[in-house]
């Protein structure tokens, strides 16, 4: 087993699937010779040729639309949207087409495509290289939305996504691409697209988070355990839609308290859905109001660093929210 960061793990997942299945291919902007703007696809065009690692014109609707067309004719395409912020032109193809083919044909047509999209706030990214767009797609039956955070999960879930007969939107927090390295199994490690992961167990508070915020949550949880003996259970959904409700509910039924943290705008967020599920299904176990932390309802993160930092929930804000819950 080798230590890999998230970016390398996704690269390896792609390469392994392409080696084992000739129908797997990649298409997107700059994915070929350049290896992608984040270098996720580096070296893949050399190994698999310019057709299976295809540089497309700068047209997101075409990227996803042609991926759909490839998939109904025997291929398993992985379409890359260079930044999640650029996905709106492909919205129709994802939401009205890919997600509805199976239902609208009463099960005759499947669309086995994976759409990779880097999301999340990054220094210098500003309004159009920073957005957390998951909520736009987590209201779309027929589509799966996954957002793994750790390298080993990401590689395994990418493989599951590619093999899945349904369209999968695969979100990668770009600020976590090189954040940590961990042991990533070479092969055989499987993570299904319907299971949350409990990162640390605890009986006092439940925190649900994903992406960069998950790292911050885990740090704060460690600190509160060490300094105050507050034991936080940290749950990562991994798949945002359809979500593994059971794991979250079981945790809240144990702790009676829930904090949900993401980088997305609060109103209409996935965090809101998690809060609603818990309020409805675990009301009698709750000892405190559910708290959501997220970005304020402004269009997106600003370019200037102080404003950008202000936009993202900080470790201090997270700690304050956890302490507030602990006091109940």
């Amino acid at each position: 087993m080798a230590e890999k960061n998230l970016l390398q793990a996704i690269h390896d997942g792609l390469a392994e699937e392409m080696r084992s299945d000739e129908s797997v291919m990649i298409l997107g902007e700059d994915v070929g010779r350049a290896g992608g703007v984040f270098r996720v696809t580096q070296g893949l065009q050399e190994e698999f040729g310019p057709e299976r690692v295809l540089d497309t014109p700068l047209a997101e609707s075409l990227i996803v639309g042609s991926a759909i067309g490839l998939s109904v004719n025997g291929m398993r395409p992985v379409a890359e949207i260079q930044f999640a912020d650029f996905i709106p032109p492909a919205f129709d193809q994802i939401v009205n087409e890919a997600a509805k083919f199976y239902y609208r044909s009463n099960g005759a047509w499947t669309v086995p495509i994976t759409i990779r999209a880097p999301y999340g706030v990054v220094p210098g990214g500003a309004l159009y290289h920073s957005q957390s767009i998951e909520a736009w797609f987590c209201n779309t039956p027929g589509l799966k939305v996954v957002a793994p955070t750790f390298p080993a999960d990401a590689k395994a879930m990418l493989k599951s996504a590619i093999r899945d007969p349904n369209p999968v939107l695969f979100l990668e927090h770009k600020r976590t691409y090189r954040l940590i390295k961990e042991d990533v199994p070479e092969d055989g490690h499987e993570v299904p697209l319907n299971k949350a992961r409990v990162h640390r167990e605890g009986g006092d508070i439940t925190v649900v988070s994903y992406g960069l915020m998950l790292y911050t949550a885990l740090e704060v949880a460690g600190k509160l355990s060490e300094e105050l003996g507050i034991e936080t259970e940290v749950v990562e959904p991994r798949t945002l839609y359809p979500m593994d409700r059971e794991t979250i509910l079981n945790s809240v039924k144990k702790t009676g308290k829930l904090l949900v943290i993401s980088e997305a705008n609060i109103t209409g967020s996935v965090s809101g859905e998690i809060a609603a599920i818990v309020s409805q299904e675990a009301f009698e176990w709750l000892d405190a109001p559910v708290i959501r932390l997220g970005a304020p309802d402004v269009p997106a993160a600003a370019f200037a660093k102080p404003m950008m930092d202000f936009f993202v929930p900080s470790a201090e804000k997270i700690e304050a929210a956890m302490l507030e819950l602990a006091r109940y």
């Binding site: 639309g65 759909i68 067309g69 083919f101 609208r104 044909s105 009463n106 005759a108 799966k144």
Partner: protein, 334 residues
Amino acid sequence: MTTEKTRARHETLDLEEADLKSIYRAMLVARRVDERSWILNRQGKAAFVISCQGQEAAQIGAAYNLRPGHDYLYPYYRDSGMTLLLGQTPRGQFLSLLGKKEDPNSAGRQMPGHFSSRELNIVTSSAPVGVQYPQAAGTALAFKMRGEDGVVMACGGEASTSGGDWHEAMNFSGIHDLPVIFLVENNVYAISVPSKFQVAGSIAKRAEGYGFPGHEVDGNDVLAVYEAAKEAVERARRGDGPTLIEAKTYRMTAHSSDDDDRRYREREEIEAWRLKDPIIRFEKYLFENGLLDEDEKEAMDAEIKAFVAEASDYAENAPFADPEEALDRVYAEV
């Protein structure tokens, strides 16, 4: 004199007498199914009708070149003539019209005109206009990558060329010489908006900018459409790339059963186009060439009407799906 000239026309296209009769019959079947659909609508039995009337020549002439179940078709909502030619049945179309469980397109989930057949490679279609073009380009790319001789036909009305999807697909197909035929059935109207407010310049000529041939043909002349599509399909099969065909035709009905076209077009205009009805024109050709006579025509029509009525009755008596089936088949099993 005329006979010699016109006879040469279908002969130069390698069309046998049997082909011509098949084409004529397919046009007539499409028309009779369509007419029956309107009757069911007026009887209060069909909630919604969307029509192919007037476009039978464009549809049958083009699709007659396809190999069902091998080539792919991306139809748009008026292409019932095409899908019937490729193997969908009048019974299936009436089941779809009435939203019955046995509806082959969607088991009662979609509106009529949203065709689908996995077996016939008719890709499930939707209502947003133009989305099928990038998909068609992708399907053509898969054929090219595997070195197969399959071709893809992608269809739409003239308004489907106004949005980005059409242009993105044209560009991509031109870059990679994809085996795809873009068939634009220019029927003059997008609901109420005439093509002069929809289309700048010429649709057919846009192909040149994307680096492949574009042909404007008389869409009410089935042999002219057949000829253009034949050339396009052969070109695609050879690996020489895409072709755009703009078939100039006319929508003889209102946009749909929910539309009243008296608000936006003159009756005289429709009457003038009725004289150019593609079925009457082809009939005339067949008569003039001694390939069909009045008795044979009457017999064929009577037979078609009878089985269309039978298909319609079957659909009327067929059951709906259970309401709870609305919950099924959201995701394919992993």
